[in-house]
């Protein structure tokens, strides 16, 4: 019994450690790619090719002054970053990285992740409220409206995946895709994939939906009054959320850690590569797409953003659901 608990704690520590390292390097990855998109170099100074930059940033954040503005609600102000980080980190526990590589193989994995990303909004709105600043307050209002609006099309897009699989267990979703000859749910759910991709951009506050922290209008949105390590926690949560969303896309639409069967039949040598490699490759391809989008497009206005969510993505996701229901009934009884 005690042994099991110890093993579990070690597992959690290992997964969390490895993931945090990934998140730290996701920042480096973004800065480097964005730099090259923008005709500059990105980090180069700390270590070879700037590889130790994430650690330098971490040390810097640790030693910064921890400032709580006068008139702020101290308890909520301190609690908000913790809520945000906890919600995102908990999502990691149900993500399968390869066959059997999952901390908690629960049967409601999909729902769990949706629930956690919804709970994260509390952290944001509390942060905006407790900061006692107008910019933070506006940012928090925007953010909560945005995340709630985009959760609906996202949930409906995932509902179609659910219909195809018949299970909420994330590993089962991957196994279900493996049975298809092309090995991915992206066909026939191409619309669902698109909807999820756009919603994931909005859920993680990425360009073109980065309104909550639109630097040029709201200074830094709900983050305005945060500094030092509390700010670092928000930052960590944001990049972890990006990681979670990319993993969800990989698991639900791109076949997780598996390769399409026709590809492995053609080149059997690919079977020797461990599944985690394919998983990470797919995740990083999606992350690269996010960064590419950030380097290319401007930002939407708040009303335009809500209009897209309700008037474009919601009907699209319902269409997708309808198509998938017909396909399921007619071709895969």
């Amino acid at each position: 019994m005690i042994l099991n608990i110890i093993i579990l704690i070690i597992e959690v520590a290992v997964v969390l450690g490895v993931l945090l390292l990934h998140v730290a390097y996701a920042v480096y990855f973004e800065r480097k790619i964005l730099g090259h998109i923008q005709a500059r170099l990105g980090p180069t100074e700390v270590g070879p090719l700037g590889l130790f930059q994430p650690f330098a940033d971490l040390v810097k954040l640790f030693f910064k002054e921890d400032n709580i503005p006068f008139g702020a609600d101290k308890f909520l102000f301190t609690a908000a970053p913790v809520i945000v980080v906890t919600c995102v980190m908990t999502s990691f526990s149900v993500l399968p990285f390869a066959a059997g590589w999952v901390l908690a193989n629960i049967n409601v994995g999909l729902l769990f992740i949706l629930a956690m990303s919804s709970l994260g909004v509390y952290g944001i709105i509390i942060a905006g409220w407790s900061s006692n600043s107008k910019y933070a307050f506006l940012g928090a209002l925007r953010s909560s409206a945005q995340i709630i609006s985009y959760e609906i099309p996202m949930g409906i897009a995932l509902l179609a995946v659910l219909i195809m699989t018949g299970s909420l267990n994330l590993s089962d979703i991957v196994y279900a895709q493996d049975k298809l000859p092309w090995g991915m749910f992206i066909f026939p759910q191409i619309i669902g994939f698109f909807v999820f991709l756009v919603c994931a951009l909005a859920e993680t506050n990425r360009t073109p939906f980065d309104l909550p922290e639109a630097e040029t209008e709201l200074v830094a949105g709900y983050l305005t009054e945060y500094s030092g390590f509390r700010w670092g926690l928000f930052f960590l949560a944001e990049y972890s959320a990006m990681y979670v969303m990319s993993s969800m896309l990989t698991i639900c639409f791109l076949g997780g850690w598996t390769l399409p069967p026709f590809l492995t039949n053609l080149l059997p040598i690919l079977n020797l590569v461990p599944g985690i490699i394919w998983f990470l490759l797919k995740v990083y391809a999606i992350m690269f797409f996010y960064i590419w989008v950030r380097g290319t497009v401007p930002r939407y206005r708040f009303d335009q953003l809500l209009k897209i969510g309700w008037k474009l993505l919601l009907p699209l996701s319902l269409t997708n659901l309808f198509i998938i229901m017909i396909i399921k009934k007619v071709f895969m009884p």
Binding site: Q38, A39, R40, N132, L138, T207, A214, G295, P298, Y300
Partner: protein
């Protein structure tokens, strides 16, 4: 003062100034306007502009711009300097296109005292003016796009702007505050390397403009953010006193370079781009076309560049110290310079208004001379000052996010508006 009192005062300030405190529960749920202070320290106000916004939700119901945070008293300072000494102050007006300001001032003083600059000097001044226009428009595009969220354009524009600044540096030694024009000519001649460098730039630049346009002009998000925002009709723009691309974006065909040509502009062929709707998008298109036109003008100027003197003989306060003679008989180089540049009094009397087209609009110089060798009064009609006044009319009814698009599109520089 006791610590209790301090605390009370702080609490008082908090209750009177803060939004986050909501009315008591017993009150009925009336909505209240929120007052948001944007600036003077804010990433999107392009300097130290302060906007007091009255917001209903995210919609702007009222707006009041406050200027003066960068006031240096340039007009008053100029009254205490001789005409030539006042010239460097004009650099500090619109500090991102200083050659254009210098030229505006120099032309006004030349007209007042009947000094005629040599033809080569006029061409060189015009070359610098057009370079300044391109560099100013590049900075405008960079910040305007960054404000709306397209961050890549920013570095692309700065890449080309660097090129121009390097060319400035090659001739003058300074990158931003060039102080290049002189009353009756220019400070120094341009070198063949400079001409070659500029030719390379003009060859390369149209493809770069194309690159910016690929990223923005037909981008649906960019179009949604800019079309129909801050629309102003031609008549309204005229009555607000808008000039430059802000006026031409509304379809009013008015460009001093063509309508009242000065320096080398009579020798150039160019067309003045016009907008139709007078919104942020049309002003954007106008400026993009102006970038191309300026590039064409630079090509023509380099082709037609005549030989000759660079400074008129009757230019005041201007003696070029030649290095060997400078040291002769003087303790140091600096004192030799002082002895050589004796002040020549300009004692004509009269007053005059003269205006030129700077990148942001019409820069007018009104100068009154009482024969003392210093301006009795010197008034600068700077475009940014006039444009800021039109901001409330442009922005009421739009949303907070549009404010930054509007600030970007009227292209203000606070150094120029606060003077």
């Amino acid at each position: 003062m006791g610590s209790m009192e301090v605390k009370e005062i702080k609490e008082q300030i908090l209750t009177t100034q803060n939004v986050c405190i909501l009315p008591e529960v017993e009150d009925n749920l009336e909505t209240k306007e929120m007052i948001l202070n944007m600036g003077p320290q804010h990433p999107a106000t392009h300097g130290v502009l302060r906007l007091v916004l009255r917001l209903d939700g995210e919609e702007i119901v009222g707006m009041e711009p406050h200027i003066g945070y960068l006031h240096r008293g340039i007009e008053k300072l100029m009254e205490s300097k001789t005409y030539a000494q006042a010239l460097p102050l004009t650099d500090r007006l619109d500090y991102i296109s200083s050659p254009a300001n210098n030229t505006a001032y120099a032309i006004a003083i030349e007209k007042l005292f009947g000094i005629e600059a040599p033809i080569r000097a006029k061409f060189i001044r015009t070359i610098f003016c057009e370079m300044a226009r391109i560099s100013s428009h590049l900075l405008w595009l960079a910040t305007h796009a960054l404000d709306i969220g397209a961050m890549t354009i920013f570095t692309y524009c700065f890449r080309e702007r660097e090129w121009l600044l390097d060319l400035f540096e090659m001739t003058v030694g300074a990158r931003l505050l060039t102080n290049f024009a002189r009353i009756g000519g220019v400070r120094c001649d341009i070198s063949p390397e400079f001409v070659q460098g500029l030719r390379d730039f003009t060859k390369e630049f149209p493809s770069r403009v194309q690159e910016y346009e690929t990223l923005l002009t037909k981008n649906p998000i960019w179009m949604e953010r800019t079309i129909d925002i801050a629309q102003i009709s031609g008549e309204d723009a005229l009555s607000w006193g808008l000039t430059g691309p802000c006026l031409r974006g509304s379809g009013v065909d008015y460009d001093l370079r063509r309508d009242c040509p000065y320096d080398a502009y009579p020798y150039l062929k160019f067309h003045v781009p016009l907008g139709e709707n007078g919104d942020v998008y049309d002003r954007y298109l106008c400026r993009m076309e102006e970038l191309r036109q300026s590039n064409e003008m630079l090509k023509q100027l380099l082709d037609q560049l005549p030989e000759g003197e660079i400074i008129s003989d009757d230019s005041p306060d201007f003696v070029i110290p030649t290095p060997p003679r400078q040291v002769e008989g003087a303790g140091s180089a600096a004192s030799a310079f002082i002895t050589l540049s004796k002040e020549r009094k300009m004692i004509n009397t009269g007053d005059l208004y003269s205006a030129v087209e700077v990148p942001k609009g019409e820069l007018g110089v009104y100068v009154v001379s009482d024969g003392s060798g210093k301006p009795y009064r010197l008034r600068l009609r700077t475009p940014s000052f006039v444009h800021i006044a039109a901001m409330p009319a442009l922005s009421v009814g739009h949303m907070v996010a549009d404010i930054i698009a509007i600030i970007g599109s009227i292209d203000i520089v606070l150094g120029e508006s606060d003077k």
